[in-house]
Amino acid sequence: MLLIAIGLEPVFGDQTDQAIQIIEKVDKNSVVNTLTYKGKFLINIASQAREKEFVGYTKGKDFAYIEFTGPAMDKGKRFLRLGQELWMFLPEVEKSVKIAGHMLRQSIMGSDFSYDDFIENRKLQDIYDIKFLGIDTALNKTCFKLELTAKVPDVNYYTRKVWVDTLAYLPIRAEYYAKSDKLMKEITISDFQKFGNRNFPTKIKMVNKLRQNTYTELTLKDIKIDVPIPTKFFTKAYLERK
């Protein structure tokens, strides 16, 4: 009775189907047609903290543009995603370079997020087999606990354990594992903003377990969803503009 009262009754049907339904709701929250925002990385390394600010534009699953606006030493650094390609523009050298191969596993601007994390744009249900593990608690919230196991070879993390908030349908906690079962990253979503029926995460903490004593908080603000964005933002000419 208690479970039905808090909306958890569906999970006692076909658990795999219900797990997929949960992930579909998660995807509905996070997948957008267009998105503009201002972002801030707060990168904590040992006892030092560094802030990096940027603006971002996203269109569908194939186009994204980020430009760093601060601090001074990072101002003007830009990233452009065109499908599965990622380009970086450095104002110091006035040219763009393609980020490929093992470089994609490096961190963005020294944060705990990697380029791979940034360009991954596929729906979770397309690349993972989803298994319902039960009801659990994360960040003092009742969650569906799911295990996602890769069903295609080119995934960044072979396994993910995800705690989906039963009310907001956001993966408020996640653990990413390598095929060897080594824990690589931990993510928590501590805040979100409501846009109509959509709950969009606005504060994400990423801990790269392969580094020592670091974590990065990503905060998003001035978020605009499904607004028109000029196509020119997603061109190399715009990336390399003077």
């Binding site: 990168i43 990096k52 030493m73 970086m88 110091e92 050298v93 370079v97 490929a100």
Partner: protein, 406 residues
């Protein structure tokens, strides 16, 4: 008595000159070979030590302990603060030069970043005194201290299709893992003759590197060149008590340690060479005893003691050993001293070697007076020892039986 035995031994030595020459020649060849090999190994070790000191670590290399542990990853975040206090500690010792360096990895390429290379941010004025890099420039000029310029290895330049005056674009990451880049003018192209260096290294001024990598007043390693090489280990030990860093004398280089660990093997090889060469002496002495059995019986019948008979035969062997060893020493010394001056060109091999094998391109042999004398003496000792093993049966010869021998 001894002079009579000597005369007799010399006469016997000349009785079968051809056989004596063959025996002496084998000793000479063995002695020449050992002097050549010893001089070569000493020269090779010296060459590697020089290259390590001049091009890699100085006499002593200082890094943070964490940097040393994770060096393969080139962790720029584990850098040394170049504070006045740090310099004070170093200057209190008999240090001639202090060379802060930043080693960083990059991917280079005109269209796609696909060629891995290793950058060194260096103080051009100090480094020219350590490595003589300014003398290795084959095209263009050496670095100056503050301009956005680079000197690069000739093989790396060839792979990147770069020449003097071109622009080299570096894209790398700062100590805080942020992407960064710089356009550098290729000021010069150098050739060290060691493949790993010419193929993948480039140098930039330290100040430019510190700014590029967000390492203001820092360096990932500090190389010390001392006033006296033999002070390396004591100074390292003293510095370890004052600084909480990894302080490694050049002798701890893994390649040098590997070579030194084989010293005992080299001596075994020398002994085997001598023993093989002395087998001709053994053969000669067995033949001598066989041919002169009646003569030996006669000598014993006339009152020669066993010791005198053996002594006579050993004197004959000694004459062969002395002459053979002397000729071998002269030839070995001649070749080794000639190769000390001229050097042996290993550039074809060293040009393909990695930076972990910093040998060549020219290896100058290192013969020493000790090597020559010790090999000369060992040649004689081995000859006499082997000869003794061959002639000792004469002690058991019965004079009457010996006289009956045809």
């Amino acid at each position: 008595m001894i002079s009579k035995l000597l005369k007799l031994a010399y006469r016997n030595f000349r009785r079968n000159t051809r056989r004596s020459i063959i025996s002496g020649t084998s000793i000479a060849i063995a002695v020449t070979l050992i002097i050549f090999t010893q001089s070569y190994i000493k020269g090779f070790t010296q060459n590697i030590s020089d290259n390590i000191i001049k091009l890699l670590s100085g006499h002593i290399r200082i890094t943070t302990k964490e940097y040393e542990r994770r060096e393969r990853l080139l962790p720029l975040s584990e850098a040394i603060d170049l504070t006045p206090e740090f310099y004070e500690v170093l200057q209190a010792e008999a240090v001639k030069l202090i060379a802060p360096r930043i080693k960083f990895g990059v991917l280079l390429g005109k269209n796609e970043l696909s060629i891995p290379a290793l950058g060194y941010a260096i103080d051009p004025i100090i480094e020219r005194q350590i490595s003589g890099l300014n003398k290795r420039i084959i095209n263009g000029a050496y670095l100056d201290s503050a301009t956005n310029a680079t000197i690069i290895g000739n093989e790396l330049a060839r792979r990147l299709n770069l020449t003097v005056g071109d622009t080299l674009t570096l894209v790398t990451r700062t100590a805080y893992d942020s992407p960064t880049g710089i356009n550098l003018v290729v000021r010069g192209i150098f050739s060290i003759g060691i493949g790993g260096i010419d193929r993948s290294l480039f140098y930039i001024p330290l100040s430019v590197g510190q700014k590029l990598l967000d390492l203001n007043e820092k360096a990932t390693e500090v190389a010390l060149v001392l006033k006296k090489t033999d002070q390396t280990k004591p100074i390292s030990a003293r510095l370890r008590t004052k600084l909480d860093y990894s302080i490694v004398p050049f002798q701890y280089n893994s390649l040098l340690r590997y070579i030194n660990a084989f010293t005992i093997v080299y001596y075994l090889i020398y002994a085997i060479i001598l023993i093989v060469a002395c087998s001709t002496i053994a053969n000669t002495m067995i033949m001598v005893v066989f041919e002169r059995t009646r003569e030996i019986g006669m000598m014993k019948a006339m009152g020669f003691s066993n010791r005198s008979v053996v002594g006579l035969l050993l004197l004959e062997a000694t004459i062969i050993g002395v002459i053979g060893s002397f000729i071998g020493t002269v030839i070995g010394a001649g070749i080794s001293y000639w190769l000390k001056i001229k050097g042996l060109d290993f550039s074809k091999i060293s040009s393909t070697a990695s930076t972990d094998l910093p040998f060549g391109p020219i290896i100058h042999f290192q013969p020493s007076f000790t090597t020559l004398i010790s090999t000369f003496v060992m040649g004689i000792i081995f000859t006499v020892l082997v000869a003794y093993l061959a002639v000792r049966r004469t002690v058991r010869l019965d004079p009457a039986q010996a006289l009956k021998t045809i």
